[in-house]
Symmetry: C2
Subunit: 450 residues, 2 copies
C-alpha cells in the first residue's frame, strides 16, 4: 500500500541542523549587507523565457528549467513540428516561463522595469534560490542559493572598496581566513592589445582564468592556438608576472586602456587603504574571472585553509541593463557562493556553540497533575525567551529521557508531585549529568544569562 | 534597441519596503515557532509529479505547475498521442516534476522518507513559497509563502493547546486583535450521524463551512439537495446553534463519535485554560474548514478589525502519511496566511516605526579630502552597528540632499573641511530639520541608544 516517495535527482531536503547552519551563514551575510546600506528586493521564481533566453550562452539556455504552459498546452502547438518531434521549436509553443537561473539577469530586468521609481545609485541585495539543470553530482545541486549585492547607477570606485570591505567583514564574522584577489578587466584588455590580439580578448581571458588550474604551459598552448605569435605570448607572460601596479605601468605606457585600469585600481586603493583589513587583499594580474559581462575591477575570494576554489567574487559591469533597453548604467556587484561557504564552514567547524540545538530545555512530567502544571511552567519559560518544550504526556522517566537523548537537548527538568510541592525543580545537564534544585526564576537566569 | 522586459502574469517583484515588512511578519512568526520548540526544515521547490498528483483533487492537479524535462523532451513522447494532441497523456511523457503546491504534502513525503532518523513526536516548521496556476486576479498570486508548524507522531491534545497559544502570541506580537475559533471534526461527524447522513459527511461539511458567507437558507438548500430530509436538517440547525459543549453533549448522548469530539475539546481546554490569553478563544459548532484531511480539532483565526476571512488555521489529521506508505501517524498543524496577514498589517499600519528605512544615516561630503575621510567615518559608524552610507562622490550639497530626500533617510551628516578640522560633525534630522554639532561618538550614541 502507498507509493514509495522520493525527491527529484539533484534536489535535496534540508534537515533542521542544516537549516539552522545555513540560516546562520545567510543571516551573517544579510546583516552586513544591511549595515552597509543595501536594500533587499525579491523577484519571482519564474521569469518569462524571453527574459532568460540568450543571456547565459548556449549552455545556459540548455540548463534553464522550463515551465509548461497550463491547461491544454498542446492545442497551440504546430502539428508539423509535433510530428517532426522538434523539441526546440515546440518548446516556444508550449512553455512561456522558466525558473530563475541567477540573480543578476532578474535584477537587471527589475532595474529597467522600475527605473522611474529607483533613486540612483541604487544599492540592493538579494538572497534567493536559483535553478540549473546541471547533471546532478556530489556537491552540485539543481537548486541552490545565491547571495548578491550590487550598486547600479554610479561609477564611483568607492563602491569597489566598500564591496571589498563587505568580503572582509563577512568572512571575518564567519571565522574564515581568506585572500581577496583583485584585478581589472581593462588591464587584461591592455595585455591583449600589447599582444596585438585585442580581437581575441575573450579567448585570452578565458585561457588566463585557468592559469592556476592547468598551469602556464597549457595556457600558452591555448593562446597560441588562437593565433597569437610566440614572442607576443612571451610578452604576455612577462606582464602577467608583474607583482604591483608600478611595474605594470611601465609595460602599459602606450596602452591607454591598460593605464585606465591601473588608475582605477589606484583610486580603489585610496579608499580601501583608509580602513584596516582583517584579511589579505592581493593584486593579481592573472585574475580573469570567466563571466563575460565584467568591464572594470574584478574580485575573487579564496579560503586560505580549505582548497575549494573561489567562495565569493564579483566585479564591475558597464552595460548589464542594455539588453533590456536601458544603456549606459554602470554597476558593480558581488556574489557569495553559499554552498561552498557551507562546505568550508563544515570543514572548519566554525559555527557558534549550540548552533544546531532546537531546544534549550525539555520538561518531563511524571503524573497527570504535574503534566498540567508543567504546561504552565513551560509557558513561563517561553515567555521569558527560553526555547522550551514538554514531553506530550506523563510517562515513565526512562522513556522520556530516551526522547531527550535523541533530541540532543542540553538540559531536562523533571517534574513530579514532590517538585510541585517544594517549588524547587530539578534541572539536569545532559552533558555532565549534573543535577541542581532550582526555582523557575533561577532556571531562567541559568539558561539565559543576561 | 533592447526588449521591453516584463514578468509573468500572477507573479510580482517585491520592492525594499515590501521585503522589509514581509520579513518582519515572517520573523515574528518564526521567532515564536522556535521558542515553542519547532525545528525548521526545507524541502525542494520541485517535487516529483507522482508525489504531488492526486493529493489536491482534480482542481489541484490542474493548478500544479509542471516542469518540462530537459533536453530533447519530445524524443520519448508517443507519436500517436502527439498527433492526437492529447495534452494530458503527453504530459506524463515530457514532464516528471512539478512545483510545490503547498507545504503539507512535501512534509508528509519528508516524514516518510526520514522516518528512521526522526525522533517522534516531531515538531517542525517550514516557511517557503508555493506555486499555483490560479487565474491571476487582484490579491491572488501564483507564487506565495506559506508558514506552517506541525507536530506528527503524537495524539496528545496538549499540542492543540500549544498551537492555539502560538496563534495567540503571534497575533498579539503583530498587534492584530483576533478571534481564535475552534471546533472538532468528530462533532461534525456526529451531526451527520444525527441526520442519518454519515455517508454525506463531506458534502455537509462543505456546506456548513459556507454558513457565514452565504447564510443559513442557502446552506439548507445545499444540504437538502444532497438528499437529507427536512426534519433532519431542522435537527442539524438546532445542533449548530449550540453555544457550548454541555448543551451539545445532550444532543450527542447516543452518538459516540460526537461525544469523542466533545471529550477532545474538553481535554484541550484543561491545557488551554492554564494560560491567560490575549485574544478571544471561541467554540463554534459551525466551523468546518474545507480541507478534506482533518479528523479532529480544527482552528480558524479571524481578524476582529479587518473583514478579510481567515488569516490562519489548522487542525488534526490522522493519516496524512498513509498515502506514502506510513499509516497511523497522527499529526496536528497550523498555517499562517502570509498574504492576508500582510494586507491586514497594511490596513492597520501596525509596523514598528521606521520598518521601511534602509539607512539610519547618510553622509554627505563637500570636497575630495572630506569624502575620503568620510569613508573612514562611515566604517566607524558601520562597525558600531549603524546602517550608514556615504554619497559616492563629493558634490553640491543640494544634489546630495535631493538624493537623501528621495531615499527617505532619517538623518544626514554634512562633512566639509571645517568639520574635519573641528571634529564636530553636523547632523541634520530630515523630518524636523533640526541640526546638531556632534562628535562621531555622540552621533553613534544618538542613533543607537543602548
Amino acid at each position: 500500500m502507498g507509493q514509495k516517495p522520493s525527491i527529484p535527482k539533484g534536489t535535496r531536503d534540508f534537515h533542521p541542523e542544516e537549516v539552522l547552519k545555513r540560516s546562520y551563514i545567510f543571516n551573517t551575510i544579510e546583516e552586513v549587507f544591511k549595515r552597509y546600506g543595501y536594500a533587499p528586493i525579491q523577484t519571482p521564481s519564474m521569469e518569462n523565457l524571453n527574459t532568460l533566453t540568450g543571456k547565459y550562452g548556449e549552455e545556459g539556455d540548455r540548463l534553464l528549467f522550463k515551465v509548461l504552459n497550463n491547461g491544454d498546452f498542446l492545442s497551440k502547438a504546430d502539428d508539423a513540428l509535433l510530428n517532426a518531434k522538434d523539441s526546440n521549436k515546440v518548446l516556444r509553443q508550449i512553455s512561456k516561463r522558466g525558473l530563475r537561473y541567477d540573480l543578476t539577469v532578474p535584477f537587471a530586468r527589475y532595474v529597467v522595469m522600475n527605473q522611474h521609481r529607483i533613486n540612483f545609485p541604487f544599492k540592493r541585495y538579494q538572497i534567493q534560490p536559483v535553478w540549473r539543470a546541471d547533471r546532478p553530482q556530489k556537491g552540485r545541486y539543481q537548486e541552490f542559493y545565491q547571495c548578491d549585492a550590487d550598486v547600479v547607477g554610479s561609477d564611483s570606485l568607492m563602491y569597489e572598496a566598500e564591496l571589498m570591505q563587505i568580503f572582509d567583514e563577512v568572512f571575518s564574522h564567519l571565522g574564515i581566513d581568506v585572500t581577496i584577489v583583485i584585478n581589472n578587466r581593462k588591464i587584461l584588455a591592455g595585455i591583449a592589445e600589447l599582444c596585438d590580439a585585442s580581437d581575441k580578448l575573450v579567448g585570452i581571458t578565458v585561457a588566463i582564468d585557468k592559469i592556476h588550474k592547468i598551469g602556464k604551459e597549457k595556457v600558452r598552448l591555448e593562446i597560441a592556438n588562437q593565433g597569437v605569435a610566440p614572442d607576443k605570448i612571451d610578452k604576455l607572460f612577462e606582464v602577467l608576472d608583474c607583482k604591483n601596479l608600478d611595474e605594470l605601468s611601465k609595460h602599459m605606457q602606450d596602452v591607454p586602456v591598460g593605464l585606465e585600469g591601473i588608475e582605477e585600481l589606484k583610486k580603489f586603493h585610496t579608499y580601501a587603504d583608509q580602513i584596516p583589513k582583517k584579511n589579505v587583499l592581493k593584486f593579481d594580474v592573472s585574475l580573469a574571472r570567466g563571466l563575460g559581462y565584467y568591464t572594470g575591477c574584478i574580485f575573487e575570494v579564496m579560503s586560505n585553509d580549505v582548497a575549494i576554489g573561489s567562495i565569493a567574487g564579483g566585479g564591475r559591469y558597464d552595460n548589464l541593463t542594455g539588453v533590456f533597453g536601458l544603456p549606459n548604467v554602470s554597476g558593480v556587484g558581488i556574489s557569495f557562493g553559499a554552498a561552498r561557504i557551507f562546505d568550508v564552514m563544515e570543514e572548519l567547524n566554525n559555527y557558534p556553540e549550540g548552533i544546531g540545538a532546537v531546544l534549550d530545555v525539555l520538561l518531563l512530567a511524571t503524573d497527570e497533575e504535574s503534566h498540567l502544571r508543567s504546561f504552565k511552567f513551560l509557558q513561563s519559560l517561553r515567555d521569558a525567551g527560553v526555547k522550551a518544550d514538554l514531553y506530550p504526556m506523563p510517562s515513565k522517566i526512562q522513556k522520556q529521557m530516551k526522547y531527550a537523548d535523541k533530541l540532543k537537548v542540553p538540559r531536562v527538568i523533571i517534574i513530579g508531585s514532590q517538585e510541585l510541592e517544594s517549588g524547587q525543580l530539578s534541572m539536569k545537564n545532559m552533558q555532565t549529568g549534573d543535577q541542581e534544585k532550582l526555582t523557575l526564576d533561577e532556571i531562567i537566569k541559568t539558561i539565559l544569562p543576561s
